[in-house]
């Protein structure tokens, strides 16, 4: 497949929804999600070989969106810390509105190492099987199991310390 500017514009029309939908979930902000959509396709203009070497356009868009959004979550966390904003302490799930609980998930994702956070996103937020996660992360299914187990431990500790 040839990915010149017009081809990438075509991909934006045909596949852009995959980026926008997942960025909305991961970032929880319409403005940030739309910025992610633009950023990811702008990156494709700069480096069209990235998707050609990936083998699957959908798979590449999942990887690029996850990477971009996790970076944004980490930047937001760093920004909040620099500005000394108060991060809402953890609350019992039953007593927490859904929006706040979703924000807490994003905050905790920002605390996890990238590969662990990506495994969590793919498996729990996208519902992927271990085989599908392994394909996108480029590792074995056993490694995916290790990452998810590690994620739950880190998650529990982060919640307790919040």
């Amino acid at each position: 497949m040839i990915l010149d500017a017009s081809a990438i514009a075509g991909l934006y029309r045909s596949h852009g929804h995959i980026v926008l939908r997942r960025a909305r979930t991961l970032l929880g902000s319409e403005a940030d999600a739309r910025e992610a959509l633009q950023e990811i396709f702008a990156a494709l203009i700069r480096n069209p070989d990235a998707v050609r070497s990936a083998g699957s356009i959908v798979g590449w868009l999942y990887q690029a969106t996850t990477h971009h959004c996790l970076n944004q979550l980490r930047k937001a966390r760093t920004g909040a810390r620099v500005l000394e904003l108060n991060v809402r302490p953890g609350m019992p799930e039953s007593g927490r509105p859904r929006g706040e609980a979703a924000a807490e998930v994003r905050r905790l994702l920002a605390l996890l190492p990238e590969e662990v956070a990506a495994a969590v996103v793919y498996h729990h937020l996208d519902g992927m099987t271990h085989a599908e996660v392994a394909e996108l992360l480029g590792c074995s299914r056993r490694q995916v199991g290790y990452l998810l187990e590690r994620a739950q431990g880190l998650w529990d500790r982060a919640e307790q310390s919040a």
Binding site: M1, L37, Q38, S56, T129, E132, W155
Partner: protein, 239 residues
């Protein structure tokens, strides 16, 4: 908080990745049929797919980002534009491009035409009957249509396997009226030897391509076309 039960956790039985790949035509035909049957019978997955389609329509309605906006389409596909396909040659075998209708522009119907451009190394030319090109060359299609039409280009490879060259999605996509409007995706010829046949479709509706692809594979050139489509056929012979 259990990771499997957060407010952001996925609720359908098939993963978002699998549903997206199904929607975008990335699954093999038997796999796609299996997913389609499941979605039709599963409330959670059909709801997820409906949500995905809703976002797809949103994005299609958005203006293109500035970085993706191209200059207006020219009436002719000039050499520099085609050279922008940006591919290098990796070829040793030769391919003969043949037209079954013997017409350089493969016209059928009132003003409908399919043209093909070939990039061989740095040289770009319009394909003509009997012209030799090489596997590894880049090809790109351009269409002419007096009215907006939903367009697709399918192929039958030498082994009789049908595939869709254009578009990447599951349905024919609308192309504005114009002369030699370049289709936004090109491709590179593979090195399989033998005859490769192309079918250009010009339809009045965004027809589903998978049934047409399957019919083409089963009946080869005898496959009937949808009633709301015109077809233009080409043939390449690799030798």
């Amino acid at each position: 908080m259990n990771l499997a039960t957060t407010p952001l956790s996925w609720n359908s039985c098939l993963s978002a990745l699998r549903l997206d790949r199904w929607m975008m035509g990335e699954l093999a035909s038997t796999d796609a049929e299996s997913v389609g049957a499941h979605v039709a019978a599963c409330a959670a997955c059909s709801t997820a797919v409906a949500g995905m389609r809703g976002v797809r329509e949103e994005v299609r309605a958005l203006p293109l980002p500035t970085v993706l906006v191209r200059p207006p389409v020219r009436r002719r596909l000039p050499r520099p534009a085609v050279a922008g396909l940006g591919l290098t040659l990796a070829a040793s075998l030769l391919l003969v491009v043949r037209s079954e209708v013997g017409d350089r522009e493969r016209r059928k119907g009132p003003g409908v035409a399919l043209a093909m451009y070939v990039q061989h190394g740095t040289e770009v030319r319009r394909a003509a009957p009997g012209e030799t090109v090489s596997p590894g060359d880049a090809i790109r299609f351009a269409v002419s249509t007096p009215v907006p039409a939903f367009v697709a280009v399918l192929s039958l490879d030498p082994s009789g396997r049908a595939s869709v060259y254009f578009p990447p999605g599951p349905r024919a996509v609308q192309v504005p009226a114009g002369t030699e409007v370049p289709l936004p995706l090109g491709t590179r010829l593979d090195e399989t030897t033998g005859e490769e046949r192309l079918l250009g479709l010009f339809c009045t509706t965004p027809v589903e391509l998978e049934p047409i692809r399957l019919a083409l594979q089963q009946a080869q050139d005898g496959a009937p076309l949808p009633t709301d489509c015109q077809g233009l056929r080409w043939s390449f012979v690799k030798r």
